[in-house]
């Protein structure tokens, strides 16, 4: 009932929106997002290969998590999906429409379909706008002209994210809210156009432990209630379980392993994933008496990534002549569990 309103005003702007007949909601096809390095402002000095050949499909209503360390390219991938970076090769297809082929109206339609929850809520909210105005903005941009209608939808979404009582929050400025409340406003803003996909970039990493779970629960509830697809980007594997169906592990611009959450957590196969899981502590008193096994070194430069598998210089199972020659393809070790590692090559 409530979702009809945005569709009518958006449909007028994008008459070519096709119906989704069995295709995935979002399809990321061999995306390469490279950034050119310049010398003296104009000479070419190579590329930062932030995203280097990433492909996956996301069905409507499904949730995935992309896990990786800082500098692995997860934010670049996210911005490519949001249409903020243009891939130099490959394409992002949303409901059958390629992002690279969208005109201005098409981009507006796309941004009404995809919500974005930023990492730092305070930085993401304009400091001089009250909550009401912040939430109205996407409606105004997307042509909801009646003031009463906007007000109704602002109140509705605020109730959904539990900014209650709504009247107390409507006229507050971001600095008057706590971190958790700010993040609720950010979520409400991402939700207000009833998007089909939400991209959440570390939505809880800036929040305190006790609030973190509250926000994760809220996002989970909204996801289920509205059947929104979610891409959850994080470095914190321990929060992934509460919130996604599949995990993609990213290392140095590649997706090195993907599987269902429980499968990946109980049966990690890529040496990098194994190292990552081993390094995460649960709060146990025994932790203080053990040393953790950590692979040596640091993630490689994305300007000159190592030949072959990018993890090989740090890998405990490094096979000379194999791993440092060619990039491994995806090996499917179990149904739905893919890993980019030569260890799993079938004879």
């Amino acid at each position: 009932m409530t979702t009809t309103a945005p569709q009518t005003d958006i449909a007028t702007q994008s008459p070519a929106a096709p119906a989704d007949g069995g295709q995935p909601l979002l399809s990321v096809q061999d995306v390469h997002t490279w950034f050119e390095l310049r010398k003296w402002g104009f000479g070419h000095a190579g590329y930062v290969r932030a995203v280097d050949g990433v492909s996956f499909d996301l069905e409507a209503g499904h949730t995935i998590a992309i896990v990786g360390e800082s500098g692995c390219g997860k934010s670049s991938l996210m911005k490519t999906i949001l249409g903020l970076h243009r891939p130099i090769k490959g394409d992002v297809v949303f409901q059958g429409r390629s992002l690279s082929g969208l005109d201005r109206g098409g981009r507006r339609w796309y941004h009404s379909q995809v919500g974005y929850v930023q990492q730092d809520p305070f930085g993401a909210l304009p400091p001089f706008m009250p909550v009401k105005r912040i939430l109205e903005e996407p409606l105004i941009v997307n042509g909801v002209r009646e003031r009463a209608e906007r007000e109704r939808r602002v109140r509705e979404v605020m109730e959904e994210v539990r900014l209650l009582p709504v009247g107390d929050f409507l006229n507050k400025f971001p600095h008057q809210l706590s971190g958790g409340q700010q993040q609720r406003v950010v979520i409400a803003r991402a939700m207000i156009l009833r998007p089909k996909l939400i991209v959440a970039d570390e939505p809880v990493s800036m929040l305190d432990a006790s609030v973190r779970v509250e926000i994760l629960r809220l996002m989970e509830a909204l996801q289920e209630a509205h059947r929104i697809a979610v891409i959850y980007i994080t470095h914190d594997l321990s929060t992934v379980r509460y919130f996604s169906q599949r995990i993609f592990v990213m290392y140095a611009g590649n997706l090195v392993e993907q599987a269902e959450v429980d499968e990946l957590l109980s049966n990690p196969q890529h040496p990098y994933t194994q190292a990552l899981l081993a390094a995460i502590p649960d709060p146990e008193p025994e932790n203080a008496h053990i040393y953790r096994d950590v692979p040596p070194g640091e993630p490689p430069s994305l300007v000159n990534p190592p030949r072959g598998c990018r993890f090989h210089p740090r890998c405990p199972h490094f096979m000379p002549g194999v791993c440092d020659v060619e990039m491994p393809p995806d090996f499917e070790t179990r149904p739905g569990h893919k890993v980019k590692c030569w260890l799993y090559q079938e004879e």
Partner: protein, 352 residues
């Protein structure tokens, strides 16, 4: 059993020769435009030699203010700074600012500040920065100081040829190690670490924790680790102090704390940690911490506490519930075992 207090005053209350640090009724208030903020409000604890204590708390609970007051690195708007801090039995609060700077800070207590990796001087080579405390405080010549800095680099796992690099040439993890080397180089009795790994990646964080564990094992160093990250804090903790609204509400040993804490707030915090290896749904503590401008009378956690009862309107005293186990909660007037409050996680009703 000789007591080697180099102090003017004997240690109070029969503190053993193992006691390195003893803090009594420490208070640090700030003046602000809206009134006086009671950031640290009557904190007591002690720390033994070679012990690592974790101070856990949410943002704004006063944990960084506590660290800064131990180091006397105070901003200008201090309203009240009182209490007693005994280091090796010496009441360092009696020292003048100059004496404290010369004799205590960095020689006895050193500090790894929050976001230490961004606290390095960008125009000094990192080796010179690590050598600087030696030259300043111990009057060691440059050659010798650099040799010791080199030693410190080896300890924390930074390649020694990095001595001649600048901070921007190093990765975040390496910079953090340099900051730790700088805190280590004077061989202090106590190192204060303020969120040493919160900005780092998982693998780097595990690496730094390994370094800190090794230093603790090989030297006689004690740590006070200030963090909000409960899971990571268990990597180092011998003891845990939980801070809430400017006060320590529970002091416990790590073995007990991480299995079954006492204070309702501590239990709520533990229940809110997402776990990788257990399929237990985390819960959260509803509400927010009180303002430190006008803290409520009575127990400061009462408004959010699932076990609240009529006594909670009065300020709870500190109860001793075991050896070196203290808890500030009325529940333990009669109980001496933890009263579990969060065993069955509350399922939040999903919004329609």
């Amino acid at each position: 059993m000789s007591t080697h207090f180099n102090a003017t005053e004997p240690a109070p209350n029969g503190a053993g020769e193992q006691t390195l640090l003893r803090v009594e009724d420490l208070r640090l208030y700030f003046r602000t435009a809206r009134g006086v903020v009671q950031a640290v409000d009557g904190v007591d604890f002690d720390l033994q030699r070679n012990e690592a204590m974790v101070i856990l708390g949410e943002s704004g609970c006063g944990k960084t203010s506590l660290a800064r007051s131990l180091l006397r690195l105070l901003p200008r708007n201090v309203d009240r700074f009182t209490g007693r801090v005994y280091l090796n039995g010496q009441d360092v609060m009696q020292l003048s600012e100059d004496e404290f700077r010369q004799d205590i800070r960095w020689l006895k207590i050193s500090f790894v500040p929050q976001a230490a990796m961004n606290a390095l001087n960008p125009v000094l080579r990192v080796g010179d920065q690590v050598a600087e405390p030696l030259m300043e405080h111990l009057g060691i010549g440059k050659e010798e100081a650099l040799a010791q800095a080199r030693e410190a680099f080896l300890h924390v796992g930074v390649p020694v040829d990095f001595l001649h690099r600048y901070a921007f040439e190093l990765s975040g993890g390496m910079r953090q190690r340099v900051a730790i080397a700088m805190a280590l180089v004077t061989e202090p009795d106590l190192i204060l670490l303020d969120e040493p790994t919160s900005a780092l990646d998982v693998l780097t964080q595990a690496n730094i924790m390994n370094v800190l564990k090794r230093i603790k094992q090989e030297h006689d160093t004690s740590y006070i680790l200030i963090t909000h990250d409960i899971a990571t804090s268990s990597e180092l903790a011998d003891r845990v102090a939980i801070m809430y609204a400017g006060q320590i509400v529970e002091l416990n040993d790590a073995a007990q704390f991480f299995t079954q804490p006492y204070h309702p707030y501590a239990q709520g915090l533990m229940a809110s940690v997402p776990r990788l290896r257990q399929k237990r749904d985390p819960t959260f503590i509803p509400g927010q911490p009180p303002s430190l401008l006008t803290p409520p009378s009575g127990c400061r956690f009462a408004d959010r506490c699932p076990a609240r009862f009529d006594k909670c309107d009065q300020d709870p005293p500190i109860y001793q519930v075991g050896e070196r186990r203290l808890v500030r909660c009325w529940l333990y007037e009669t109980e001496s075992q933890p009263v579990p409050l969060y065993d069955t996680p509350v399922q939040e009703a999903h919004s329609p």
